[in-house]
Symmetry: C2
Subunit: 329 residues, 2 copies
């Protein structure tokens, strides 16, 4: 018998999530039936999307949603032999049984010296998000100027590096001096700490007096309004996230944005990475190739221990991570 | 000697424009030089864009900007024979001299029974705005559902009719019962008076319980925020105007719109019709053909007398017109 530990959403979040919103449960798993596999979590992902989707995807008492890299412990399904690794949207749990339909086998050719946790980050959903949004939403061209906020996050670090590889000027911002220094090492052209610059508008102007062709927005709200007013004609805004708004109890307000949208003929588009599900393999292959060639660095912020998942999630929402926030089971 | 009457911007608008912001001046025009033509206004256009562009395009003391249909009174330029008609961005003036560079000759084939004023409306800038925005920004497909506000205006009436011709469900709104009745006669599927519906959200829901694929936005601000929350997945928003915001002394505020933009993967794009300058002839030919075939009605609101231009402009901003607001000189 295998005992699975699972984090349950005990109470819907109100404002910023609290430890008491989560509850750890333990249950014994039944024996495998034909066609099933038993999986054990190796790395688990904590992602910002959990916050906005909490009420949409879960009710109180449900397992917390999320993806993980897991190892096959037992198998009655020839597609998933014992010892193989998979990626699955199986939620915050240490062990689970699957009939295989919702599993993605990691390629046997996965490089030995590459942590499998990257399948949750640069060579996974966040990497694909950056990859497709830059080409399909930002329609980024060599020589253009792009602004990326939450730039030290899982998506921002990939987006900034890909934009540099494309021959663009990349301006990033983050919330600590350490992150600023790290992003400069990653190759960002200009980086500032949004918490300590007196005026965001002036910091943006200083970083790129010519304005911005693209804006990769992970933050939304008041921050975005300032950036929109510095976009160039025909600028594109990829609305990837809105971490400044996720924890609102009352919706925040600001000036309507039709002025800059109209006067500079801007195009602002929201997207979810699932839109490109049919091109997933293309994206993952391209990202893995860049990682193997050393052209794409993969910063990670690893928290040890499954029991610390709520803390890792809340820490990520507070910006404690540089790069992808991962929990090692 | 010809005496030209000209409306001058005496004082920059503050809030809603006032009669005292304008001043009428009279001046004698010099004799023509070689290559020049003398023109007399026949129809003049008053358009919403004058309000947002007033500070950008004019300083106090300048001639008020705007387009007109004019007739050639005298000519020392063989391209513009006496008696021919042109369209020009010549401002609010009864007579002017041109070297021809800024004139567009109206086709000699212009149908006899068609008022030349249409070259300022359905077969002019407002018509082109609707024509290109529907295809290029809304990317409207047959069977889709589109919401158009300020639907009884110069652009809205064309946009709604073109969307019907494309096989779409068209929901419009306007600010009087007369306009509502008129739009229903034009073929709009659902129309409501935004001034008398208790709740805009409920009126939109009732008109299209399935939501909206496209939103042709002439209004902006609070109105738009309500519509955005009823857009369907992958909806497109064409930001054509923002008449609810033009007269702000302090910018109006409302909830940030990243939520609906992201969660429904909406695409919101601002545009100016000049973007399609290279396709102007294509657009005008298509619009003229539809008008001649009787497929496109061309409502106009005509004010008599050049001296009434400021009143016509202010009346249009208040929504007194159904269809294109025109001044007959």
């Amino acid at each position: 018998m295998v005992r699975a530990k699972t984090w349950i959403l005990k109470k819907h979040f109100e404002g910023f999530p609290k430890q008491s919103d989560f509850e750890l449960k333990v249950a014994e798993l039944p024996p495998l039936k034909d066609g099933e596999v038993l999986l054990e979590a190796v790395f688990l992902s904590v992602d910002p999307y959990l916050r906005p989707y909490s009420k949409i995807k879960m009710k109180e008492g449900d397992k917390v949603i999320g993806s993980q890299v897991a190892k096959v412990l037992e198998s009655k399904n020839p597609s998933y032999p014992v010892g193989s690794y998979i990626v699955a949207q199986s939620g915050w749990t240490t062990h689970f049984i699957s009939d295989g339909k919702d599993l993605s086998l990691m390629p046997p050719s996965w490089p030995k010296n590459l942590s499998r946790s990257l399948a949750l980050g640069t060579v996974g959903m966040p990497g694909l998000t950056a990859y497709f949004a830059l080409s399909e939403i930002c329609r980024l061209k060599p020589g253009e100027i792009i602004m990326i906020n939450a730039a030290a996050g899982a998506v921002g670090t990939v987006a900034g590096q890909l934009a540099k590889l494309k021959g663009c000027k990349v301006v990033g911002c983050a919330g600590s001096e350490e992150k600023v220094a790290f992003l400069k090492k990653l190759g960002f052209d200009e980086v500032f700490n949004y918490k300590t610059v007196g005026s965001l508008a002036e910091a943006l102007k200083k970083a790129s007096p010519e304005g911005y062709d693209c804006y990769f927005d992970n933050v939304g709200g008041a921050f975005s309004t300032v950036v929109l007013n510095q976009m160039r004609k025909f600028g594109r805004i990829a609305v990837c996230g809105m971490i400044s708004l996720y924890n609102d109890k009352e919706p925040q307000q600001g000036p309507y944005i039709q002025w800059p949208i109209l006067m500079n003929q801007l195009c602002m588009e929201g997207f979810l990475v699932q839109r490109w599900e049919n091109r997933k393999e293309e994206g993952l292959n391209a990202l893995l190739k860049l990682v193997v060639e050393g052209k794409l660095k993969c910063p990670e912020h690893i928290t040890e221990g499954f029991d610390n998942m709520p803390a890792a999630f809340m820490g990520m929402l507070k910006g404690e991570n540089t790069g992808k926030a991962i929990v090692k089971a």
